[in-house]
Amino acid sequence: MPSSFLDRESTVAPAGYNRFLVPPAALAVHLSIGQAYAFSTFNLPLTKLLGITHSDPSDWKLTDVGWTFSIAIAILGLSAAVFGRWVERVGPRKSMFTAALCFGGGFIVAAVGIHFHQLWLLYLGYGVLGGCGLGIGYISPVSTLIKWFPDRPGMATGMAIMGFGGGALIAAPLSLLLMEHFKTPTSTGVLETFVTMGVIYFMYMMIGVIAVRVPAANWKPAGWVPPVKAQRLVTTANVAVDNAWRTPQFWLLWGVLCMNVTAGIGVLGQASPMIQEIFSGRVTPAAAAGFVGLLSLFNMGGRFFWATISDYLGRRNTYMVFFLLGILLYSAVPTLGHLGYIELFVAAFAVILSMYGGGFATIPAYLRDMFGTMNVGAIHGRLLTAWSVAGVLGPVLVNYIRQFQIDHGVAKAQAYSITMYIMCGLLFVGFLCNLAMRPVDERYHYRAPKPAK
């Protein structure tokens, strides 16, 4: 493959190019890297690599294996922050190709680790290399989509980021199918599944690499006229990435994302035991798995729905809905559980998880509104460190507070109530951050250097 094929110049779309060819290219990448959310399907098989049917004493422990996902998510945030500017400079094709190499290659390195039963290679492969693939792949198509859809930036990025939620829905049954296929009396089939998935995901991401295009400079959708009257929280200026993170607006948005994600991520991880413990005797493990599936569907659907709605409602108003409705629903959940209203309980969490997904999908368009399109991909990358923090904070809050309450004699069914009220508090902090949002001061705006006389 000649190197020029990957360069930004080779991806400039010709006149008359249909912009709706770009979202599936972005989706091919996001559907692949969204596999990360289904990593837990490998957790148990990875603890039986030596014992095959049971966990041998020299097998990896579940807590050791669990770190793989945590490392991958932490590296996602870090790599998005570190490589954001590079992604912006080289364009979507080269960065998507790099993401495909890292993500597919990560599976292969992890497979080598499984073969030699070396945990550090699993961490290095899936966690570090795969995590870089996640971070670079996540931000690669964002600024390109915003430039193609200046009239509907929320809808466009919502479509791609919906893919990240949808990726788990594909990967979970696919992993189980492959492990079942490769399983033998002497193998759990995980090694072969990792190699196969590495190859499949690399090839699938390559579809995105080949299909992606950037619009020509000054391109506008046919018939679209940029709004003449500037809206208060939608800038027409640009802010460079190195200035963006010096503004209070960046940190307010960081708080908005972190609080919204923390409130959702802890529940998502504990959804199955939570519903079984709150409705003890009424919800079977199979039904609880159904609850998790339902939440995943709302997490995915919410990404497209809320991001699209934000194009009409405005970004700040959309987050106001997330925070206020979230507080209302979280505060109602303990009562619904106590009264045994299982349908309303499920409905409340479905809406909460739709807003969790919506928060991820609406943030790139919010950044575009505040900082302009020039460096939006790189700024988005830096903002994703909020996700890394929330990825630790959310589960820790839910798990430790639950355990603390149980240790102090609270019944399991009531052990989540305090956590829900704490989530309300976090959402209120997010609400205040969002409320404080003001346009970026002009001194941070980018000014092109004047040509030398």
Binding site: Y17, N18, F20, L21, P24, A25, L27, A28, L31, G163, G166, A168, L169, I170, A171, A172, P173, L174, I207, A211, V283, A286, A287, A288, A289, G290, F291, G293, L294, S296, L297, M300, V346
Partner: protein
């Protein structure tokens, strides 16, 4: 261009629909 548009959307749409249908089958167990 139209053919490419349809093919690309099918390439991403079919796996997604497959995943959604599998998840939905699982989710229905909650109300079973």
């Amino acid at each position: 261009m139209k053919f490419r548009l349809i093919v690309l959307w099918l390439v991403v749409g079919i796996p997604l629909l497959w995943g959604v249908s599998k998840t939905l089958q699982n989710a229905l167990k909650l109300f079973g």
